[in-house]
Symmetry: C2
Subunit: 137 residues, 2 copies
Amino acid sequence: MTKEQLIEFISQQKTAFLASVNSEGYPVVRAMLAPRVIDGTDFYFSTNTSSSKVKQFTENCKACVYFYKRGRFKYQGATVTGTMSVCTDQETKNLIWRVGDTLFYRQGKTDPDYCVLKFTCQKAEYYCDFKIEKFEF
Amino acid sequence: MTKEQLIEFISQQKTAFLASVNSEGYPVVRAMLAPRVIDGTDFYFSTNTSSSKVKQFTENCKACVYFYKRGRFKYQGATVTGTMSVCTDQETKNLIWRVGDTLFYRQGKTDPDYCVLKFTCQKAEYYCDFKIEKFEF
């Protein structure tokens, strides 16, 4: 598997599992919708500025995003570690905004409670059929 | 939702997403089969002694286990943080052993590459329909 194929696998998944490290040093996982935009090795997610993950990533940028696919006979998983930036600038907020988002952010793309999480890949491990492949970006 | 109902929700899920913190301070997520045994607020998983998660939990016991269920109209998620013990004693290994496990651990329940991860819940957050409930154990 090449890096391009790994990103292709990731871009096909509908759910991402995002982990931060909280102020007490515990990892914290939650499901997210798949990245809105994947640009090279940067993944962009939308979120609430007031969420606990924004607080955690502001204090500690170390992050993991996990993707998996369980087929009938095959299990594939990709564990990607890297850093997370909390982006509140309007340019980045415009980049991934979709019309339907007003359902969640009433004030639209300038809503102060709408912000963007930008994840930058550093390393990845891809698991398939008990084998592991490692990548560095 | 009571603590008992939260544990009931957890026990119904087939996949657990397990996070550790690696030696560089990054969270690391991977999917696991659901806990083999749930005893009160202790969850027991089987794993390979040689796996990277065993190494990570031996060095840093802080852990998170995440469970989720995505229905057609409803999304539920439970983020549970706590501590992970790596158990290599035969009594604990016997506790969660199943006959079919010889497929993965050729030497059977005494296989040195078979061990048990025992997770003890400390705190939990349950998400449903944009609401969060918090629990302490």
